[in-house]
Structure formats: structure tokens, C-alpha cells
Amino acid sequence: MLKVIAACGSGMGSSQIIKMKLEKVFKKLGIEASIYHTNIGDAKSQAANYDVVVCSDSLIGTFANATAKKVIVIGLKNLLSEKEIEEKVLEKIVNAQ
């Protein structure tokens, strides 16, 4: 079971959109995951407890430490594009294993 956290500035709008899109993509790819969403500060301090962090491209710098701890960090350009999310999930999660 993959533990995933979606993050955005306030932890309310964009991160929830990412979460809902991720749920769809994971379901399509048959990946079992529990997905949470929160704000960027929260996600930063908790990142080590998750397998994957997903956020907007513009916030990816916040998770430099998490990347060092082998947490997979995915930055998105279009938060609503299932196509982009699927491509990045395939690249960073499925094919990386």
C-alpha cells in the first residue's frame, strides 16, 4: 500500500484537486494507495512518513530534503491533467521499481 500526500499552499484547493485526480489515475493503473492532502508546511515536516509527495512544479523546491531521504517527489505543471499525472506516475513510481 502506497502512502501518498498531496500538498499546496493552503492545503485546501489545489491539493484536494491533485488528490482526486491521483485517485482516478491510481485506480486506472491498479495501484493501491491511501492519499491525503495538506498544506506545504505540514507536508514538509511529515514528508519522511510518506512514500510519495505530489505538488505543483512551483513548490517542488520545498521538498529537497525529502528527495534526499528517498521519498519520491512529483511536481505537476497542470494539476488537473490526468494524462500528465499518469505519465509521471508511470515514470517515477511504476517503472522506477
Binding site: 499552499g9 492545503g11 484547493g13 484536494q16 498544506n39 506545504i40 512544479d57 491533467s81
Partner: protein, 498 residues
Amino acid sequence: MEFLMPVWEFFQNNILTKPQFFIGFIVFIGYLLLQRPIYEAVAGFIKAVVGYMILNVASGGLVGNFRPVLAGLKDRFDLSAAVIDPYFGQAAAQASIENAGRSFSMMMVVLLIAFSINILLVLFRRYTKIRTLFITGHVMVQQSSTALWLVIFCFPQLQDMGVVCMLGVLLGTYWSVGSNLTVEPCQQLTEGGGFATGHQQMFGIWIVSKIAGKIGNKEKSLENLKLPGFLSIFNENVVATGILMFIFFGVIITILGPELMHKIDPSFSANQSFLFFIIEKSFNFAVYLTILQLGVRMFVSELTESFQGISSKILPGSMPAVDCAATYGFGHPNAVTFGFLFGALGQFLAIIGLIVFQSPILIISGFVPLFFDNATFAVFANRLGGLRAAAIIPFVSGIIQVLGGGFAAYFFTTGNFGGWHGNFDWDTLWPVIGVIMNYGQYIGVVAVILILLAIPQIIYYRSKDTYFLIAEDYDQYLEVMEQKKRSAEELEVMAQKV
């Protein structure tokens, strides 16, 4: 029928006038209607009720923390004060509504009616020309709260039923028309990303998209700029709020002085240092804001999820209108920081202006309008008008936010509870709507709704052939535009030959 009276009274006393249970039951029934299992409905009910109760604790905390400072300002300088931020605005609106002896439950009914109006306008889009459905839950809660107070302020005699119906139609029209205005700017920015903005500065985005190209040159973009690294700490809400509040309340409380604060604020104990009292007081705002957001997130995520479901299920061909931060991925990170900085500059300058010209209300910058509005404007402005537009537009927006917010907090008296909504549309469009409602009464409301509904019609008649295409199929839209350009050029060549 006699036996029904106690049932109704029970319902009214325990559910209808208790927003937490009212919202809980709406979520519960919603889940059942969506045919989700009963245990999920129960979980949703609990999360909605607890979320709302958390929000209540935090709203009370925000207003309560502010109260002694407000009293001090009133006492010493005969000033009132407001933080311009949607969360402070929501807390102040709730306090104003309850102070007027009305039930805050109406907020939720307004939200549902307004959302239904938006659905209807999209369903009949062939006539209404509305292409977007507003699904940003937490923003809908904030706006329903503030707008509810505006209507109660302007129509104190109107019964609850009248209030929610009238406001539901008005707010639903604003959500539809405003988000519909952002279709062209968003599609161009994201190159067909397939979403519009449903947030608090939709008219602002539209204005920016019209003027940015005229203000600057898009070739001179801000991508090459190196911004100092310390600015990244403002990415974190708690840190940014802590710093902002420390600056503002530090100055205000220092001016009021330790003697007065001892007298009016019982939380300032005799042996605490003045400096640490100020730090604690300022950071308290960050505490309550964090709690407030936790509460909102808890009960709103249920809402947004079902809205998203509705939007993709019953409205194919329409666009979802989402949080403004969804556009940030399409702008350089510098644009976001740049907007915040120049917005802050504009706000601080305007606040100094308020003090110099002895305004009866003092405005305190809140993080959400400062950051989210101006960062969004900078992203759009940079794309269309480069560095120069991305600096000038947020700067001017900062000034407008303070002046418009100051007027609104004073006129609509939410300054008594220390807050105003403060986002761009709520410092410009909504104060105007409020004043029209106040003096024009029902005729004013009807006029506002008709004017709003006319906006998409006008845009449609100016671009008939591509109006729906840009939302449905962006690539084909580009092709059509290219073809148009080519045939226009051919015409010109032919004209020259003749």
C-alpha cells in the same frame, strides 16, 4: 396536525439553528443520495460536524484575540480596524450575523442554492453562455458567509427564506459569470489546460488579461531575475502569517503602550515582558488561522469531492473552475514571489496613506489576499506583459485592496469585529454591489443580476464562432484563429493589389 408542532420545534431548536448539525445532516443526506454505503455517510456526518465545531472555536478565538486591541484603538484614537483576509472576514461576518440575532446556518443553504443556480446556468448554456462550474469549496464557504452578512445588513427586515433565496441567486450568478470570464485568460495561459479559475479575484484576472499587454513587454520576462532565497519562507502559511501579524500588531500594541494593554487585556499577566506579550499575541492569530483551516478542510473536502463528481458526471463540455493556485505551475516561480512582494509594497503604502489622511478605519494586511490574489495577477501579467506588468499590476492591486477593503469594513461595519474578506473582487465588485443593494434595495439586486448576466452575452456576440470552441477543444480553436489570421492577411494583399 397538532402533534407535528413539537416535532418541528425540536427540529428547529436542535438542527436548523445549529449550523454544525445542519451541515452534518446535509452531508449525510448527500452521501445517501450518491448511494454511498451508510458507514461512509456516518463518517462524513461526523467529519462535517466536528469540522464545523473546530471552525467555530477558531472563529471565536480570532475575534476574541483581536477584541482588546480593537477596544484599545477605539479608546485611544477612536479608530476601528480590520484584517483584510477571507478567514478574518468570515469570522467577522459570522460575529456580525449572530450579533444581529440571525442564524449562521443560512450560510450553508445559500451555498447550496448558489451552486444549483450555477448548475442550471451551465445546463442552459446555449442561452446563458455560461461555460464554467465553480467547485472551490472553501472559497464558496467564505463568500457565502460574507455575502450573507451584506444581505442581512442591507435588508434587516427580510425573513430567512427571502434572504437565502435572493442571495443564492445573486451569488450563484456571480460564481457563474466571474469564473466564465476567466476561460479565455486561463486557456491561453495554460495552452488548453482545461480549467478556469473559481476563486476570489476572477474579475481581477479578466482585467489583468486586458491591460497587461499594454503595460509591459512580454519579451522582458522575469525568468532571468535572481530573487533572494530567504523569500521562500513566505511559502509557508504559518510563517508568513506570524511575520505579518508580528509586524502589524507589534507596531499597534507598542503605540497603545503596556499600561493600557494591562488594563484592557487580562491575558497580559503582570510579570510578562511586553515584547513576549506582543509575540504571543501576534502568533495567536497564526494559531487560530491554522485551527480554522483545519476545520474548513475537514468539512469542505466532503463538499468539494461531491461537487467535482457532479461537474464531471452531469456537465460534460463544461469546465471546472478551481483554486487560483492551479495556475501557478504555468508561471515561473519568480512570478509568484514577485506578485506577493509588489502587492505587499502597494498595501503598505496604502496603509500609510490611510493613517496620514486620518481614515476612521485602520487596515491590517492579511496573508491570503496579499499572496494569492497578487501572485495570480503576476503569473498572468508576466505572460502577457513581462516583468514590468508583473510589478505594476500587483502593486496597484495592493493599493486597491487596502482602499476597497477599508471602505467595505467601515461601510458594512465588519470592522467592529476586526475583519473584512479582503480579496480583490471583494474589495472592488462586491462593495459596489453592497452599496447598490443598500440604496437600490430590491430593484438594485435585480439590476445587479441582470448586468452580471449580460456580460457573457456581450463576450459571446463578439466572438461567436470560437466562444464555446476555446473551452471544448483548444487545439481546434488555435487552428481556427490561425485560419482567420491567414484569410485576413490575404484580404489585405488583395486590397493592396486593387
